[in-house]
């Protein structure tokens, strides 16, 4: 690839092709979701596999764990499962008389394991692949060029428009004095203020998109995204892809048996 600083010889595993990583991660997550409930040793093996991959790809453990926090609300929601799933009671909450069922507990822990492994695999993909390469990989894997280009634009302007939003929020905060013993403005009023901010942010974004379009036109844009990134699949890539395919096959076979 022109303009890329890394070359396949020096990188080894670290310079895996983005396509390889996308395919491997999807196969891995699929495998994780197909492991029968309660097969705890298998989950442990997969976790070990994942963490070794993280070490090879130089993704810190802290990043891996921290980013999985985002889905905590969903995880907490499944806490009710041990109580609501019918089955053999293994524990009864003192006082309330609610029973924890073995089946419910298994279901709960299984979902937790699947979630944990899947989200870490996703973090691994995102943290070890520059967005430009990730998008290129998706396009090569058959995701429509237009959609990939839109996502690329979105990612680029996330920071620009996010900064504009940040400025508006700071400006609002700077004017939000609160005098002791005076009533705060109502929730609806505050919601309305937020809505007005959203509205003017929209107008700015719309105007910006028009300016960007003009800038693209003046450099010859014709409506069809083009790119000249070239990466090649090397031996390592095939090893990883085939390896993750085998993993999935193994788990499917295990389910049959």
């Amino acid at each position: 690839m022109q303009g890329s600083t890394r070359s396949p010889e020096t990188g080894g595993m670290r310079s895996l092709d983005p396509r390889t990583k996308v395919v491997a991660v999807v196969l891995f997550i699929l495998a994780v979701n197909l492991i029968p409930a309660g097969a705890w040793p298998v989950y442990l093996v997969l976790l070990a596999l994942l963490w070794s991959a993280a070490v090879v790809l130089h993704v810190g453990m802290l990043v891996l764990l921290r980013r999985s926090l985002v889905a905590v609300p969903f995880v907490l929601a499944v806490v009710v499962l041990p109580f609501t799933t019918p089955g053999a009671a293994i524990y009864e909450l003192p006082g309330l008389g609610w029973q924890i069922s073995r089946e419910g507990m298994t279901l709960f822990l299984t979902i937790l394991c699947r979630f944990f492994l899947a989200v870490q695999a996703a973090v691994l993909l995102a943290a070890s692949t520059p967005v430009s390469e990730l998008l290129w990989g998706l396009r090569k894997l058959g995701v429509p060029t237009t959609l990939v280009a839109i996502i690329g634009f979105m990612y680029r302007y996330l920071f620009v428009i996010g900064e504009e939003a940040g400025q508006m929020i700071r400006a609002r905060a700077a004017r939000s004095a609160q005098i002791p013993h005076h009533r705060r403005p109502s929730v609806f009023w505050q919601g309305r203020v937020s809505g007005l901010m959203v509205g003017s942010l929209f107008l700015r974004a719309l105007a910006r998109s028009e300016r960007i379009y003009v800038a693209m036109l003046s450099r010859g844009y014709d409506g069809h995204p083009r790119s000249m990134l070239h990466l090649r699949m090397v031996a390592w890539d095939w090893i990883v892809v085939i390896g993750s395919g085998l993993l999935l096959a193994l788990i499917l076979w295990g389910r049959m048996a």
Partner: protein
């Protein structure tokens, strides 16, 4: 005399009815360094956008003899490079390399030629080695330099810049001035920055309310303080 830019009787109004340019006549020759100055709303940016046909008014605009019209837009846009005021509007790709390569790619160059142009363009603004940088994490000054490179990579004959020094600190401004001084292309710079004009550009056009009110050697025009004040420039 055949000039690089020939504008005759150009008028332009925006959709909301605002008149931005009124019966403008202007010619700029190869190699000239021209400053367009005027207060906000004088029509400077609108004029720049006319140069490569992003906006089209009534009247006649010719670049290197070709009329700016729908059929010629591809050619015109490879002749006139526009650098916008907000570099974030111009740098829309995930990496510096892809941004600078954008114009050359759409010109239909093969990939080795594109890479060569990217390297040369980045070198000429002193940003070589920055190919893999991400625009989100660059300073405003760096973004402005790369924005100039995105246009230089197309090897235009005319470089039209809108407020190249706006909102820059002294050091970044100095860097931009240094780059502009060393460019061989014909320069058209719309700006409020009179000391930029004095230092880099030898001809100055003063605009007010869509009309050219003065056009001549920079030294002469900047000397007349009463005139500058009358048109809201000092």
């Amino acid at each position: 005399m055949s000039c690089l830019v020939e504008i005759k009787n150009l008028s332009f109004s925006y959709q909301d009815g605002r008149t931005a340019l009124q019966e403008l006549d202007l010619s700029i020759c190869e190699g000239e360094k021209v400053g367009i100055v005027g207060s906000n709303g004088a029509g400077k940016s609108t004029l720049l956008l006319q140069l490569n046909g992003v906006l089209q008014g009534t009247g006649d605009v010719r670049i290197a003899g070709d009329q700016v019209c729908r059929q010629n837009l591809g050619r015109i846009r490879s002749l006139v490079g526009l650098v916008f005021q907000d570099p974030d509007d111009q740098l829309f790709s995930p990496t510096v390399f892809e941004d600078v390569a954008f114009g050359p790619l759409y010109m239909g160059l093969d990939e080795s030629a594109v890479s060569l142009r990217v390297r040369e363009a980045l070198e000429s603004v002193g940003m070589d080695g920055m190919e893999e940088r991400v625009p989100n994490r660059m300073s405003l000054g760096e973004k402005k330099l790369v924005a100039i490179a995105t246009v230089l990579a197309m090897r235009p004959r005319i470089l039209a810049l809108d407020e190249p020094t706006a909102a820059l600190d002294a050091r970044a401004r100095r860097t931009i001035l240094g780059v502009l001084k060393h460019l061989d292309e014909t320069l058209v710079v719309a700006t409020h920055d009179l000391s930029l004009v004095a230092e880099v550009l030898d001809r100055t056009i003063v605009m007010d309310r869509g009309e050219v009110v003065a056009d001549g050697p920079t030294a002469e025009i900047l000397r007349d303080e009463a005139f500058l004040a009358e048109h809201g420039l000092i």
